[in-house]
């Protein structure tokens, strides 16, 4: 041990003597080391501080996040079956109508109007009130029912307008619907009357369907997996809805349709639709019936084949695609009906070939969030050929080739998306007696408010 210390001191002595150090150099070295030490200490302190700050940063943000996440405990679920009530909404509307002609004499030349296809009564009247129920049934189905109540000849009638179930995401773009539903025969046909842009139906809807065509049956639709929207589908029904008629075992009417549409930039959207419907009406009755020699009039009936083809085009525009402030909608549809069969009246029989066609164009401009205005033009035509013209007369089918037309102007005030006050003027040339019609209408929706389709 002792020898080791001795050795070390000897070595150091030798080193020191061999490398003589000046006092100046030593001081310089010391200062340099001190400097370096200070530098490092400073840097370490800086780093520590930054680390600490980062930690507090994270902590602070995490604290904020934690605060946000600390959601309150879910409210206790009350033991009440009402929680699963479907979405319920009611549409109420009322109207004041004024006509220059007697509405009871209203007719559309070349077309036969059903019971409900006429004009609303003059003066104040309650329009159609609707109650709509909808909900998901379970993991597979959605269900919806629309119950309409309206006055007819002084009595309130209840009508099941729609009652259907529909698959919820059957997958691969397929959807199946069953029950009673508005037929996809035309663009407006699939919408509820209260969602239409005018207070009354286009003449062609009034003339062909008595306002709207519904189907009791099945609907299948398929959205193609393409970038461009393309939907194809079809329906089968029991064929008893006008212009179909009668009891049919199995399929009484069928329809195929195709739709496509898209966007042009942010501002423009469009949709094009084509559909074709066929039925074989069994004793479709014409409203006009002339009694031959007193007593109740027996109606003229049609038996044969009927098909209808529809073409529809819809265009919508909104600056930047922001529909809230301003937008424009153009709807145009064209229908062509072809009847081929026989007319019968009491003991008379005639072969019959009828064409009824027509369409409308409407443009609606929402110029402020609460105001809309629009114009509509209706045009119809018909050709009726029968082996016995007397039956055409009995059926009140005008065979002179008169073209009914109508011009309409509408102004809507929309206090909110749930209410609407509408004023409309028509110059109606549905028959040879021109009529000027003025309609003032309110429509409100209370309760759940569903989504609107394009």
């Amino acid at each position: 041990m002792k020898s080791k210390t001795l050795l070390a001191s000897m070595i150091s002595a030798a080193l020191f003597s061999a490398m003589p150090l000046h006092a100046d150099d030593l001081d310089e070295l010391k200062a340099e080391i001190m400097q370096m030490r200070q530098d490092y200490e400073q840097r370490i302190a800086d780093l520590e501080q930054r680390l600490q700050q980062t930690e507090t940063n994270t902590q602070e943000v995490q604290q904020q996040v934690a605060q946000v996440q600390a959601a309150p405990a879910p409210a206790p679920v009350s033991q009440n079956n009402n929680r699963f009530n479907p979405a319920i909404s009611a549409v109420l509307n009322g109207q004041f109508s004024d006509y220059s002609n007697d509405p009871d004499d209203y007719e559309i030349s070349g077309f036969s109007l059903g019971d409900e296809a006429g004009l609303a009564r003059e003066g104040f009247s309650l329009g159609e009130s609707e109650i709509i129920l909808s909900a998901n049934v379970d993991q597979l189905f959605y269900g919806q029912a629309t119950i309409a109540l309206h006055d007819h000849d002084g009595e309130t009638e209840i009508e099941m307008e729609e009652a259907f179930i529909e698959t919820l995401g059957l997958s691969n773009g397929m959807t199946v619907r069953a029950g009673r539903f508005f037929s996809p025969i035309g663009y407006l046909n699939e919408k509820h009357i209260h969602a239409w842009n005018f207070a009354d139906a286009p003449l062609v809807y009034r003339g062909l369907f008595g306002n709207q065509l519904s189907t009791d049956g099945l609907k299948l639709s398929y959205v193609l997996p393409t970038e461009q929207y393309i939907e194809v589908g079809g329906t089968v029904g029991n064929g008893d809805q006008h212009p179909g008629s009668g009891d049919h075992n199995g399929v009484g009417d069928w329809l195929v349709f195709a739709k496509t549409g898209g966007d042009i930039g942010n501002n423009h959207n469009w949709q094009l639709g084509l559909s074709h419907w066929q039925a074989s009406p069994d004793d479709r009755e014409y409203s006009g019936g002339h009694s031959h020699g007193g007593g109740d009039a027996e109606s003229v009936a049609f038996n044969g084949d009927t098909d209808i083809t529809n073409l529809s085009f819809i265009y919508k525009w909104a600056p930047q695609g922001n529909f809230k402030e301003q937008n424009f909608t153009l709807v145009s549809e064209y229908f062509y009906l072809n009847d081929d069969g026989k007319l019968s009246h009491e003991d008379e029989l005639a072969s019959y070939d009828g064409k009824q066609y027509g369409g409308f164009v409407e443009g609606i401009y929402q110029f402020a969030p609460q105001w809309k205005t629009g114009v509509r033009y209706d045009w119809l035509g018909s050709k009726h050929r029968a082996s016995d013209d007397e039956l055409l007369e009995d059926a009140d089918l005008d065979a002179t080739g008169y073209h009914p037309q109508r011009y309409s102007l509408v102004l809507d005030w929309l206090p909110s998306e749930f209410s609407r006050v509408r004023a409309q003027v028509n110059h109606d040339k549905s028959s040879r007696d021109d009529d000027t019609q003025f309609l003032l209408q309110y429509t409100v929706s209370i309760g759940a408010h569903g989504a609107h389709s394009f």
């Binding site: 996040v65 997958s171 959807t175 959205v223 959207n269 402030e325 609460q370 408010h449 989504a451 394009f454």
Partner: protein, 298 residues
């Protein structure tokens, strides 16, 4: 750096791998967030732009086609899209995006909403029963949503779980640093008295501790009447405001009127990505929002 390299490696490996997740975002902020978290494993489409009012969107044909092919919906929820999304879900015939399915992600379900009305009555305007849905105006809420969305992506695409985890960590770090930066920048805004057009800004106001002194839409969704506006002018004489705020998609009429009448400067905030030309991603959205507020409050 490590995240970047891992990401790069993973992305190179996956070039030959399976197809990307097709994301249908209802609003641009969710499209951007999905892209941040999903990187090149996802393709995103936004149904709306920053200049559209998300309450009033048409369930138009192109959206049905997009929804038909979507693997994941990323939307706000809380009834914001009630006027159009349910219809797209039903018409799409797409099982995976139905409500409650794995492909339906509603951001508002992951945060606590404020402004839940105590009374539901439509005479009070367009009220949202579930609470205020405009959650993207707070970066804190956005972070919470981001975590949940990343979890959903991992659940949906197990093969790329690690990739999404890395993207999440990376995003979280960058986002937290950004939040700290914004909070520092926005210190002078604390207590800033503001007038807003619609209750779109509740979460921004809470985050930056701004002071909302008046709302132009006295009832949400109902354009203010002249009487309403005159009341506000009177009110502002007592409690003055320094800035009028309105979202880029809203009509400038009411704020312009007030600006002219009172001389209080008006700021058009982007509200979401694409609301102006500077707000191109989530980061620049808040950069721009705070910068504009700072400029206007000087």
């Amino acid at each position: 750096m490590r995240v970047f390299i891992t990401g790069l490696l993973l992305s190179i490996m996956s070039i030959t791998a399976q197809a990307e997740i097709n994301i249908f975002a209802c609003e641009p902020e969710w499209a951007a967030l999905s892209q941040e978290l999903g990187g090149d494993k996802v393709t995103t489409y936004s149904a709306t732009t920053g200049l559209q009012d998300p309450h009033y969107i048409q369930a138009r044909p192109s959206l049905i086609a997009k929804a038909r092919r979507a693997d994941l919906l990323v939307c706000t929820g809380a009834e914001l899209e009630a006027g159009w999304l349910p219809l797209l879900q039903r018409k799409s015939g797409n099982r995976v995006i139905q409500h409650g399915a794995i492909g339906s992600f509603m951001a508002a379900e992951y945060v606590q909403l404020s402004g839940i009305p105590s009374q539901l009555d439509r005479s009070q305007g367009h009220v949202h029963a579930a609470g205020n849905p405009h959650i993207q105006t707070s970066p804190i809420l956005l972070l919470t949503v981001a975590k949940a969305l990343s979890d959903r992506l991992q659940q949906l695409d197990l093969a790329n779980k690690v990739y999404y985890q890395h993207r999440w960590t990376d995003f979280e770090q960058r986002w937290q640093a950004a939040i700290k930066k914004w909070q520092l920048q926005a210190k002078p805004l604390k207590g800033l008295p503001i007038v807003i057009q619609h209750n779109s800004w509740d979460y921004l106001i809470a985050w930056l501790e701004l002071n909302k002194v008046a709302i132009l839409e006295t009832k949400p969704g109902v354009p203010p009447s002249v009487a309403d506006l005159n009341n506000i002018v009177e009110q502002l004489k007592v409690t003055p405001a320094k800035v009028i705020i309105h979202a880029a998609y809203q009509s400038p009429r009411a704020s312009d009127w007030l600006n002219e009448k009172t001389g209080i400067p008006k700021v058009v905030l982007p509200f979401t990505i694409g609301g102006n030309s500077s707000a191109t991603d989530l980061f620049s959205l808040f950069d721009n929002t705070i910068q504009q507020l700072l400029d206007a409050s000087k």
